[in-house]
Symmetry: C2
Subunit: 148 residues, 2 copies
Amino acid sequence: MTILACAVAITMGGLCAWQDSAAQTERELIAMERTSMDGWLKGDSGPMLAASDADITLFHVMTDRRLEGVAAVKDLYTPFAGRPLYDSYQMENPKVQAGSDMAVLSYQLVTHTGDLTRKWNATEVYQKKKGGWRVIHSHFSATAGAQQ
Amino acid sequence: MTILACAVAITMGGLCAWQDSAAQTERELIAMERTSMDGWLKGDSGPMLAASDADITLFHVMTDRRLEGVAAVKDLYTPFAGRPLYDSYQMENPKVQAGSDMAVLSYQLVTHTGDLTRKWNATEVYQKKKGGWRVIHSHFSATAGAQQ
């Protein structure tokens, strides 16, 4: 929704404001996710942990149960400290579906490590807390047919 | 939170009301999920489609991309019409994390078909719409180490 379109649609001011807010949330959450993924380029889990809520729940391809709480997630990441997870990555088709104080970001993560390309389905559920948006639930899985 | 505890904690009335509301949302969403899963006992995708928002996004172990919209999801289910997906199932450790108009239900789905047991990580993101709660994002994946 452009500024001009919003100005023209004067009777639809509320809708424009809502759309601007939704677009802003989308930009903000995608930027947070990129910051987390950029961290893993250097084996740094710090940005991802900083974005995680204390009560985060998490499904991961390496675990046979749902992790509960940021301490459990930190334990999962510890062995990878200082080890880049990939050489480069792309977030394919990121999409944010937002409510008033929660939003879900979904995308496909493509990672490149040497000649190896992998693809993952990524779901990040965010909730707006006092300190800003935090991930309250995370679910990554290998995409069907992707190289493992 | 029991009625007695709420009565005693008279100064915490607001907190009790919030907890009752959260508990109610949890019960409601788990019941909806069971209705969907009960449908698949008979190969009936109707309940799951009825719970899906028109703009649902969905990651599934059978698809290499995110499905967009309920029509695409319906197409995914069509080949399974009338074919029970399992003989029985359990929802393990269902948990609901709720905001004001959105909530995420996560659990592990255990399915039994003859001698075969499978386990799946399940994430269902719900949003409260005019007609009630609807699934706006769904992500199922095979649990690590589970029999495939």
